[in-house]
């Protein structure tokens, strides 16, 4: 029997992640509940019934970034506790397969989260009603940012899971590393959520986000092998 290809192994691990999440939903439910609660917190903390423009974009991105920390923190926990990492290391496959699978799993969690959390945000807090075109542009920004969060999150999650103070290290490492994503995403969504109707999307921010995704994708690919050695 020949060794499975990297993509095949990645697909198998990815399917396992989704199956685990379906059988015992932990991450997604936690992330969604967290973001809904955060909106309520924002409502009272800001004492506002509706937000628009910069403020709306800020509320949205703070919520998504903090919710993603929950997903990042849990990404490798079950594998470490149940011996999944050792089993993976025993398999004759490339270690990048694990990176691919975990990043894809985190990406799909983030997309699933946003499918609920962003409409909920529009319903609960957002003042202006976005048009279809605005939604599409918003989706593009969300996807670009999600890719960055997924790559950096996988790297940070793999580091943090081997430490004693896992949750602490996750937030301390991930937040500064994700700041360029937050800057780019918040700056590009602010004109979309403006009260004066959706403004034009400044084209440099999607480029910055894409560049960030690319650089950290390559870095993660180069460095991930060192994080799953034993």
């Amino acid at each position: 029997m020949s060794a499975p290809s990297t993509l095949g192994a990645a697909r198998a691990v990815f399917a396992k992640e989704l199956l685990l999440e379906r059988r015992a939903p932990q991450t997604l439910i936690a992330m969604t509940l967290f973001s809904a609660t955060t909106y309520v917190v924002f409502h009272f903390a800001l004492n506002r019934d509706s937000v628009a423009g910069n403020l709306a974009s800020g509320v949205l991105w703070v919520t998504i970034t903090l919710a993603s920390l929950l997903g990042i923190g849990r990404l490798f926990v079950s594998d470490r506790d149940e011996g999944g990492l050792e089993a993976f290391l025993l398999a004759p496959v490339d270690r990048s397969a694990l990176l691919l699978a975990k990043a894809a799993a985190l990406l799909s969690f983030l997309i699933a989260l946003e499918l609920v959390a962003v409409p909920l945000f529009a319903l609960l807090l957002l003042g202006p009603t976005p048009s279809v075109g605005t939604w599409l542009r918003l989706a593009l920004i969300l996807l670009l940012a999600d890719a960055g969060i997924a790559v950096v999150g996988t790297l940070v999650g793999a580091i943090a899971v081997q430490t004693r103070a896992r949750d602490l290290i996750t937030s301390l490492l991930a937040l500064p590393l994700l700041l360029p994503v937050v800057i780019g995403a918040a700056r590009s969504t602010a004109p979309l959520l403006s009260e004066l109707g959706a403004g034009t999307l400044p084209s440099r921010w999607p480029v910055v986000l894409g560049l960030y995704d690319l650089i950290f994708g390559l870095l993660a690919y180069a460095l991930f092998d060192y994080l799953v050695e034993d």
């Binding site: 103070a165 590393l177 910055v208 060192y226």
Partner: protein
């Protein structure tokens, strides 16, 4: 005679004297020779401390990343020690750059902290990121894994530095004075002489401190292994958890 202690201990005195002389000369030039800037007056003199601190600390972070690459490639713990020492000293220099930058901001713009000042904000982010380096090391018990993960962190953070500067700069209009632009700087000659002397002095200060700490760490590791040889194994002192890299097997 242990070789590695020799390696780091030599020329330390000469280096220290050179650092002292050049840095003193640089500060003297900055204080007495360089003209008082027309716009900002005397407060602009802090520039001769702030900018060299900032440049040296960024170079130190990058150097730490390069040592980390070497460490991952070769697995030699000495590279990890180099990276560790460079990063934690750069962190101190970075804190110095933040404090002096804040003082300058107060003098020049009337506020201790200016958010629409991309370089200062980038520095804060870089500082916050590298501040997690020590907690990260400390929270991993296995020394081999600790050094490997710290190296991965050092490389990621090293790559993050320029990206972060680009992102923060794009987010703000420029108000930070561009001291050294691509056309070779807009400084008048007498200011430039003082500035470069300060920069060289600060770089030498970094190198001296770095070598000093390396020598100290190597000496301590050798002392420990000698002590272990003197005592029997069961009497050997138990090493506590540490964030610093270990050169000898525990």
């Amino acid at each position: 005679m242990p070789t590695s202690a020799k390696l780091y201990g030599t020329r330390l005195r000469g280096l220290a004297i050179a650092t002292f002389v050049i840095l003193t000369a640089g500060f003297a030039l900055a204080a007495f020779y360089a003209p008082i800037e027309a716009d900002q007056g005397f407060s602009q003199k802090i520039f001769y401390v702030h900018v060299p601190l900032a440049i040296v600390s960024l170079c130190g972070f990058i150097f730490g990343g390069i040592c980390a690459i070497q460490h991952l490639r070769t697995g030699d713990p000495r590279h990890d020690l180099r990276s560790y020492t460079a990063i934690h000293q750069s962190l101190i220099f970075c804190a110095g750059a933040l404090v002096t930058g804040s003082i300058w901001a107060k003098a020049a713009w009337g506020q201790w902290w200016v958010w629409d000042e991309p370089t200062l904000v980038s520095f804060l982010i870089v500082f916050l990121l590298y501040a997690t380096y020590q907690p990260l090391r400390f929270s991993i018990e296995d020394p081999e894994r600790q050094s490997r993960y710290a190296s991965v962190f050092a490389i990621v953070a090293g790559a993050f530095v320029p990206l972060n500067f680009a992102a923060v700069r794009l987010a703000n209009p420029l108000i930070h004075p561009r001291v050294l632009n691509s056309s070779g700087g807009s400084l008048p000659n007498d200011m430039r002489v003082a500035f470069y002397t300060c920069l060289v002095g600060m770089g030498l200060l970094f190198i001296t401190l770095w070598k000093y700490e390396m020598a100290s760490k190597h000496t301590r590791a050798q002392l420990r292994s000698l002590r272990r040889k003197l005592q029997s194994d069961d009497q050997a002192p138990v090493q506590g958890r540490s964030a610093a890299p270990r050169l000898t097997a525990p």
